[in-house]
Point group: C2
């Protein structure tokens, strides 16, 4: 910037004014400065700028579990869109469900003086963020609640969705329902499981360890589990898979066997219309989840100091898949 000033024969400050489109600079000076900027290939140093002018780095931090997962990719895409509308940049990092890593990444983002944080929590204790929040970095949690910190949160109605879906299975007469899930350690999974038993227990099908299978991380494991359940003497007449990765494996095994078990899955998925098996999915609007959270964050950034609020977005039952041909 000093070089530009010399080249244009003006002061440092005048260059700063021109570069930032501040008013009250003579047109001919503006022109000279812009010419010098072009000749010297000057680029404003955004770091120095935000260091001087307060703490705003025009950056939002987004912490998710895993970027490559379509659910989080959709969140990232929507967040990026809203962030862009505010002329800011987005830093994205994955916690990979590791609380220690989550903590480190969030600290690092704060060290970079992000203007706000969007977090899908991996851990159960986010009190370490309290200092940052008090110092003025707003945080919005999405998809899962935070632990030990009062903050804005946007959730899906996991329990209600599971209730509605399982109710439909029960109304169709199903009582032995195999339930497959990723990990009870994850809040959303617990909520979905609880929702299922909100309906199953009163219908005379109390919690049954043999029908609930935890720790299923990929479609292959889901397929094996379905095979195992169907080979038992008293096989389930229906399955409830608690995320879409599991649903894929379940469908695979049911198709392979030509089974006619009913299938309910949490999470919609893109290629559902190609699936050769009739299923009901509990769908929700991932874009909306991210949009609401990001807009909430920007309201905070713009100075909204009201009490933290929690928004719960509805889910919807949708019939998907074609009957096998």
């Amino acid at each position: 910037m000093v070089d530009v000033a010399n080249r244009a024969g003006v002061s440092l400050k005048t260059v700063s004014r021109v570069v930032n489109n501040e008013p009250n600079v003579q047109p001919d000076l503006i022109e000279r400065v812009l010419a010098a900027v072009a000749e010297l290939g000057f680029r404003r140093n955004h770091l120095a700028s935000s260091l001087r002018s307060g703490q705003a780095s025009a950056t939002i931090g987004l912490l998710i579990e895993e970027i490559a997962n379509p659910f989080y990719a959709t969140i990232a895409g929507t967040a990026a869109e809203v962030v862009r509308q505010h002329d800011m940049m987005l830093i994205i990092a994955s916690s990979e469900e590791d609380p220690a890593r989550e903590r480190q990444l969030l600290r690092d983002m704060c060290a970079r003086r992000v203007d706000g944080l969007l977090v899908v929590p991996a851990g159960y204790d986010h009190s370490f963020l309290r200092t940052e929040v008090e110092l003025g970095t707003p945080v919005v949690f999405l998809d899962r609640p935070a632990g030990g910190l009062a903050a804005d949160t946007v959730l899906l109605d996991n329990r209600g969705g599971a209730r509605a879906g399982v109710r439909r299975l029960v109304e169709a007469g199903h009582r032995r329902i195999g339930i497959l899930l990723d990990s009870v350690g994850i809040h959303t999974m617990r909520e979905r499981l609880d929702g299922a038993y909100d309906v199953l227990a009163p219908a005379g099908a109390p919690y049954d360890t043999r029908l609930v299978r935890d720790g299923i991380r990929d479609p292959a494991a889901a397929a094996r589990t379905v095979a195992d359940l169907l080979d038992r003497p008293d096989p389930p007449t229906a399955f409830f898979s608690l995320n879409n990765r599991i649903t894929v494996g379940v469908i695979e095994e049911l198709c392979r066997r030509g089974s006619d078990a009913a299938l309910l899955g949490f999470d919609d998925f893109d290629l559902a219309r190609l699936v050769p098996y009739p299923l009901t999915v509990i769908a929700y609007d991932t874009h909306e989840l991210a949009r609401v959270a990001t807009e909430l964050l920007f309201r905070r950034i713009e100075g909204d100091r009201s009490l933290p609020r929690t928004v719960v977005l509805p889910t919807e039952l949708v019939a998907r898949g074609a009957p096998p041909r």
Copy 2:
């Protein structure tokens, strides 16, 4: 940091040394400083740090077309992983295939003094990056070549893959092949189309406008186009869809009609095993694409000054999908 120094009764510089784990500080001073840091909730300002200590912000910029697209999400995930191994952060932005936006975003990333750029190009002219590159910000392009700038590039063998796939169709006797693509404006699409005609033309099936359909942006459009082609007097006996979004629509329509046309698709997809239609896909390793590009970038950041190189990754033919039941 001044406050911490006062609190600990040491100088500013000593705090800096402790915070950065520099050697030659007395253990008792280290302890006092760390205590003060904890009491005051001190957080090192990463912006100020990188402003002073050179230009490194420990940040990599990734520019892709669309975050929510699984292909780019996979790239982002892999890049994030490698970047994390280097203790850096990743800024991600979407150009949405808009060259002007691409340019603006890249400039903005440079203004934030990223240590390097990973770019899936949207435009055809990247000469505006030359200054940055010369000033020491390395750039690696992936999936598509850059325009007007000599830089490292990692590509897929689009043309070779298309050739291999179409060769298989031709060997099976197909000559009337409907080809569906997104946009000839995109480099990868042109390469795939050229690859197809590398094989088709010598086999006596020269370029036929009626069989090549451009501008197909979503599965529904693909389905309509397939319907249209099949309703012609001389319908194609096979289809080649140039990306996976199109493949989905093609399968949908072929299933609906109970057609037995052969199908070749560029891009593998996740749920391919559930698809009730036999198809061959031209697959490739997206992780590898991103990994190679990111590692190339870090070699440049670490000072590799050799001539820019272009890496072309192979594709593979894979049989997918089940025959309709």
